[in-house]
Amino acid sequence: MLRFEREVVRSLVTSPDAHVRAEVEHYVDGALRAMPEYLRGGLVAESVTLGAWAGIRGARKPTEPEALARLLGAWEESPLGVLCMYVRLFRSLVLFAECELAPAPAS
Amino acid sequence: MSAGSNGRAPTAVVTGAAGWLGQNLVRALAPERERVRCLVHGADDAPLLEVVGPSIEVVVGDVRDPATADRLFDGVRAPAVFHAAAVIHPESTVRELFDVNVGGTDLMLDRARRADAARFVHVSSNSPFGTNATPTDRFTEDSPYDPYLEYGRSKLEAEEFVQRAHERGDVETVIVRAPWFYGPYQPARQTQFFAAVRRGRFPLVGDGSQQRSMVFTGNLVDGLLRAEATAAAAGRAYWIADAEPYELRAILAGVRTALEAEGLAVSERRLRLPALAATVAEGVDRVLQGRGRYVQPVHVLGELGHTIACDISRARAELGYEPATGLVEGMRASVRWCLERGEQL
């Protein structure tokens, strides 16, 4: 998993539990490894580009995690399919993993 | 003919009521039926129909919309449904053709079934059958499907839905296949066609001997009403057109004759295009539609090189259909209609 991809996953995970967070990251890492090469290759190119862009925008400072969260939120609303689908892919993987790995909140 | 006799339902539901065919059909139905429920797409269209008579009830909405369909059939029992709503020339993409022609037909059949419709008369086209192989070949009701591009495919799928609804016992159906219309309540594109012929700007493609069936709106309405009323027509399909197809050059000559007879000067100029121009246009049309795009002039030019002609023997034999109006008389009626409305020809 690329560094930026890890940052994205950490930004999207909602659980405060450190064990759950680690498990989710591990799951997404595995999913990316299991992707067909041609899809993974495309995703790597996007991650490198978007990671650089996010850095320029100052959204990758570890002291300001909300900045990345805001940027990812903006990308998810973007009419540009590439941006929206990038976030949606990670959101989808993280959501699924969190639901499976963290017990459901008592209702 | 009083309402309810001879197999004519007291209530009629008409989709596409504000369209070219619809306006003619509704005016034929209004005096004879207790209620004529009309579906129009835009609110601006409602007054066009409300003026026709007290039996008219207008519903404004989208033929693909389940909620509109519910309103259209609300409180209606055992109606005769005349489904004329369709898209022939979409704005720019072919997607609309399928949404409306297939999706709308699917929805109307479903609601017709739920309303225990007496009969569903479906307005179809020559397009599912393509073009005739030779100028003397004629489409009959047994001709195989050979859809002409995406409109043809969409109307083909709509026919399949209609036939299946009948075969499954959902609703009794009749399919009426109509070729190129002419007659009152014509849309802008037909008025532009008259104007272009008047100015000598409408092209004659090739030598103009290619045959085109046409149908005067009055003849088509008569055919639709017979399709509704004839018991033995259930589950069947009929070509409804003028008595014989016309050569394209005869159509253009007929328009010129009608314009002059109604007092309009007609240009001496004649524009001719080689048959190749239509062939090229058709090729371009194919590519564009393959990419989901629709460009109306390209499509129209592409079709002009072909013979598209049908045989009305079955309608004559089984429905007692006889086309009452011929080309020049019908074109004159169209021109008069335009002039009465102040249309610029």
Partner: protein, 472 residues
């Protein structure tokens, strides 16, 4: 290098491969099955869970490139996709068998041709309907359909019921794989075929790479006959890297699904997949239910609206449903040298997109009629619909850039039939141009059948096995 000698090499142990191994072993042949994935105890994991995806899925997920992309999943384990699917069962519709026979010139084929084989499969897998009432997630579909006057049926499933009425899915690892082993077949899991070996125009075996306890070992399997049963994606990929091109890989057909996460005023069940299917709009459009664990519900809700947390907190009231279509368009599988996974593409026509939109609207009607209060479509930006008046907006929502589609059925990449310009094998799965090489899986079906294809695949594989046993 280890070499294994065998009569028949079967590549893949899914619906097609397991039938092939079982029938040929029963027929007295010495059969070796190689399976790329592991052999996993079918009771070890909950269906549709994260554990199951990690262990049994080839990709999580993969997607066919196109506008829009279509996500898909393949099982990569002993038993193949039968270990991860819903288990719904349907015979190949007779009208399709007839149409395919005529269009692709398939010998000894037609509406009744597979009946005897289907019966045998149904007995082996205990194909049956629910002994009791359907669970709420399924009953809701029936309720909506009944209210609208739409035809709906309960599909049979490959489930065996115990005396308490509990159902167990009869996957290949529970049924034909162990029965094949009992009949003398050898199964080699964790063993990937690198390429089929050929000499003088015939298949002579395969070069494989086995991974066991972290150790990687190449091995050669020498066989008189080779059956490729890797599924509609892996089979053409294997053939491509074995130098067999021809009509291999083109013509991929899938059942794209568009989904709705529907919220109800009452709780619904989440353990299985509904068995009711609305068939009113068949054969090109069908409506049914999907796996609805909390994870699947979450993913489905997130797709239509960024404000889904409130609905997710209420997830026990939410169930996921789909509309699936047969398509005019088709796709390709292209093996690329040096890449482990083939490139997969799929093209949808405007007519296909319209059909998907129509399916979504009909699905919405059915769910509202069943009492749903909120509908979250798998369309970017929704909108979320709460009343029938809102459904019409979905016609313009379903576009290439906004629709989120997936498929679980993949077929038709190595079609069968005598019409050689359009098929990759003859009427019985013999690959054109290479002797002793056959395909016996979903790749053979000339089109997607509009119903769950497992039944068709298995009956077809059985028919082809009988032909093989009668000739060799």
């Amino acid at each position: 290098m280890t070499t294994i000698d065998t009569d028949v090499l079967v590549i893949g142990s899914g619906a097609g491969g397991a039938v092939t191994a079982f029938l040929l072993a029963q027929g007295g042949r010495d059969v070796t099955v190689v399976e790329e994935g592991p052999w996993i105890d079918p009771d070890a994991m909950e269906p549709f869970s994260l554990e199951e995806m990690v262990a049994k899925y080839r990709h999580r997920p993969a997607a066919a490139l196109g506008s829009p992309t279509i996500a898909y999943a393949e099982g990569r384990c002993v038993g193949g996709s039968t270990e991860i699917n819903s288990g719904l069962y349907h015979r190949l519709p007779g009208y399709l068998a007839e149409a395919w026979r005529d269009e692709f010139d398939i010998d000894e084929f037609g509406p009744d041709a597979l009946d005897a084989y289907a019966k045998r499969i149904e007995a082996e897998l205990a194909v049956s309907r629910l002994p009791g009432a359907p669970p709420p997630s399924s009953a809701l579909l029936e309720r909506g359909a009944t209210k609208l006057g739409w035809r709906a049926v309960e599909f049979a499933r490959v489930f065996r019921y115990d005396t308490a009425g509990r159902g167990v899915k009869q996957t290949m690892t529970r049924t034909l794989v162990p029965r094949a082993v009992d009949a003398g077949a050898t199964v080699v899991p964790n063993c990937r075929v690198l390429r089929v070996l050929r000499r003088d125009g015939r298949a002579i075996g395969a070069r494989c790479r086995r991974t066991e306890d972290g150790r990687v070992e190449d091995l050669d399997i020498r066989a008189d006959h080779v059956f490729v049963c890797g599924g509609a994606i892996q089979t053409p990929a294997i053939l491509h890297r074995s130098g067999v091109r021809g009509r291999v890989g083109a013509g991929l057909k899938v059942h794209p699904m568009i989904k709705i996460a529907a919220r109800f005023p009452h709780p619904v069940d989440h353990g299985g997949v509904p068995m009711q299917v609305i068939t009113e709009f068949g054969p090109n459009l069908s409506i049914g239910g999907s796996a609805s664990r909390r994870g699947q519900v979450a993913m489905a809700l997130a797709e239509s609206s960024p404000d889904f947390e409130e609905a997710l907190a209420d997830w026990e009231h939410v169930s996921v449903y789909y509309a699936a279509i047969r398509t005019e368009g088709a796709g390709r599988v292209i093996g690329v040298p040096g890449l482990r996974a083939p490139v997969v593409t799929y093209r949808l026509t405007e007519a296909d997109l319209s059909r998907l939109a129509r399916g979504l609207v009909h699905l919405g009607e059915a769910l509202l009629a069943a009492g749903a209060t909120e509908l979250y479509p798998s369309v970017r930006g929704g909108p979320v619909v709460r009343r029938p008046e809102g459904l019409v907006d979905w016609w313009s929502s379903v576009t290439r850039s906004r629709a989120n589609l997936m498929t679980v059925h993949l077929t038709s990449t190595v079609r069968m039939g005598q019409a050689r310009s359009r098929t990759g094998t003859d009427s019985f799965g013999r690959v054109w141009g290479v002797r002793n090489l056959r395909v016996n899986d979903a790749s053979l079906l000339p089109d997607a059948p509009g119903v769950n294809p497992q039944g068709a695949i298995m009956a077809l594989a059985a028919r082809n096995c009988e032909q093989f046993l009668s000739e060799a």
